[in-house]
């Protein structure tokens, strides 16, 4: 389902940004312009890895005003499910891929009078597009960007050159400098919004510090990169499609359903947006909810499951799908 408006694209350019980060530029094969997007948006890239369909979400990092193409940056994560390794090793200029329409689950709040962006590592990508937008709209912003080392950190030099040291602050693990979150959140004018994107531990730490500094939760925004976690294989029966299937160790329920030809709805594929919410008909075992969408009560009730990241342990799971 997924709005079914995927766009076939050609890889126009592949750029090595650091040892572990590559940037890809996509342009439409039919020569039409890409849809405009807003800073913070992502697309889902579909890859055909020797017959295996891989779909990964990536934040758009190109200028939101530029509809001649989209750019994403991919961090190579060796011991993961393989999407990033495929992008790094297999994808070359001229190749064809499919990307979804842009979806924004991490949009800036335009009512804000100032915006503070906090990035860790590859979490920088949505902010690159956001900053273009803030800069165009003449809105106050500052970026606090933590990287492991200057050689491994992506884009920090370009951002410093573009926006200057007053708005771009870089912190380097190797140089023992860390983002002073308590100081940053301590003294900001009313109407400031804070956005954080990076590893889960960093996000939790920043949000907790801001709440303790008296920030209301309405002014705090985060985007997590949840990859579907691996686990033991299990059996699922899709009632409406009448499909019995096994969800593999490195597969999500959603991916298994897609592999069996079931066109299930999805948007973020990362447990955040709620689009793939699926009703549980019966469950002989335990649901492992890995999403950040359902409330604690909903998770306990066991009547719904987010099939993009959640897993199951037990005999049989029957879904209304």
């Amino acid at each position: 389902m997924s709005l079914n408006t995927d766009m076939p694209v050609r890889v126009a350019d592949v750029t090595e940004v650091t040892d572990l980060v590559k940037r890809f530029r996509f342009e439409r094969i039919d020569g039409h312009p890409m849809p405009f997007f807003s800073g913070g948006a992502h697309v889902v890239v579909s890859m055909n890895d020797n017959g295996l369909l891989r779909r990964n979400p990536y934040s758009l990092m190109s200028n939101p005003d530029d509809n001649s193409g989209y750019e994403i940056s991919v961090l190579r994560v060796p011991n993961s499910r393989g999407g990033s390794v495929f992008m790094h090793e297999q994808v070359r200029p001229g190749d064809q891929l499919t990307v979804s329409q842009p979806v924004n689950l991490f949009a800036p709040d335009h009512r804000g009078r100032k915006h503070i962006l906090i990035a860790g590592g590859i979490g920088i990508t949505p902010f690159i597009a956001m900053m273009e937008q803030f800069s165009r709209d003449n809105v106050a912003f500052e970026l606090h960007y933590a990287i492991r080392s200057r050689s491994h950190g992506a884009y920090w030099q370009q951002l410093l050159d573009r926006y200057g040291p007053r708005r771009i602050k870089v912190y380097v693990d190797e140089e023992k400098t860390t983002i002073p979150v308590a100081e940053i959140t301590d003294n900001q004018p009313l109407g400031t919004h804070l956005y954080v994107c990076g590893p889960a531990g960093m996000i939790d730490g920043v949000l907790m510090t801001a709440l303790k500094a008296g920030w209301p939760k309405e002014n705090l925004h985060s985007e997590r990169f949840l990859a579907p976690p691996a686990g033991l294989p299990f059996q699922v029966f899709l009632k409406k499609s009448n499909i019995h299937m096994t969800v593999g160790e490195h597969q999500s329920i959603l991916e298994a359903a897609e592999a069996h030809g079931c066109d299930a709805p999805y948007m973020c594929r990362g447990g955040a947006c709620g689009q793939c919410e699926t009703e549980v008909s019966s469950c002989d075992g335990t649901l492992e909810h890995n999403d950040i969408y359902l409330s604690d009560e909903e998770k306990t009730s066991g009547r719904k499951v987010m099939i993009c990241v959640s897993r199951f342990k037990g005999q049989q799971l029957v879904l209304q799908l």
Partner: protein, 201 residues
């Protein structure tokens, strides 16, 4: 006559002191003073040392709530003679305020709406503002035809104080304007408006 069940009708969930806030700004009108004194009774006085109270007595002046509020010895207590100086002072406060400041508003709906209007200009999300409705249920209504706003409307329908049309009061609310939206009730056949009913004492 009242049209109800419209989603835009604001909900006032009551003042609830946020323990993490670095500073509390209370903007109170009339009976709204009691919303704060009730909190002090329930939670103790600790938060008053980092509190600023702006108070407009309005119709509740004979009850001398100002004396009770001043007796709480908050960090700042300031009393406004009328709404306009109140809004001016509020702007000055919000202009200086930092992110750890939480805003609390209590009083009549018209007052809450007009304070909220100023707060929204400063980029505060309305969900993070604590509100409590106290006192009269009279409404502040905008005529959707001439755009004039009439305060303290207690009946429906009522005659617009600007253009004179007979207006039906509905739950349709504009946060941007801080007012309910009133529509002409006898547009098809002028002169057939029902008798005003006292609805918002």
């Amino acid at each position: 006559m009242l049209v109800q069940g419209i989603k835009s009708r604001p909900e006032y969930k009551g003042l609830d002191i946020d323990p993490h806030a670095k500073r509390h700004l209370f903007v109170l009108e009339g009976e709204g003073a009691a919303a704060l004194t009730d909190q002090v009774e329930a939670r103790g006085k600790d938060f008053l040392a980092k509190s600023e109270i702006l108070y407009l007595a309005a119709g509740a002046a004979p009850k001398a709530y100002d004396v009770a509020l001043a007796a709480l010895s908050p960090d700042v207590f300031w009393q406004a003679p009328t709404l306009q100086p109140m809004l001016f002072r509020l702007r000055a406060c919000l202009d200086q305020a930092r992110m750890g400041t939480r805003l609390y508003i209590a009083g009549t709906e018209g007052f809450i709406g007009q304070i909220m209007q100023v707060a929204l200009e400063f980029g505060i999300d309305f969900n993070s503002i604590h509100t409590e409705h106290r006192g009269s249920t009279a409404r502040r209504v905008q005529c959707v035809h001439c755009k004039g706003i009439t305060d303290n409307v207690t009946t429906s329908p009522f005659a617009c104080s600007h253009c004179g049309l007979s207006l039906l009061v509905r739950d349709h609310y504009s946060r941007r304007l801080g007012a309910f939206q009133g529509v002409n009730i006898d547009a098809e056949e002028p002169g057939t408006a029902p008798q005003p009913e006292e609805m918002f004492p």
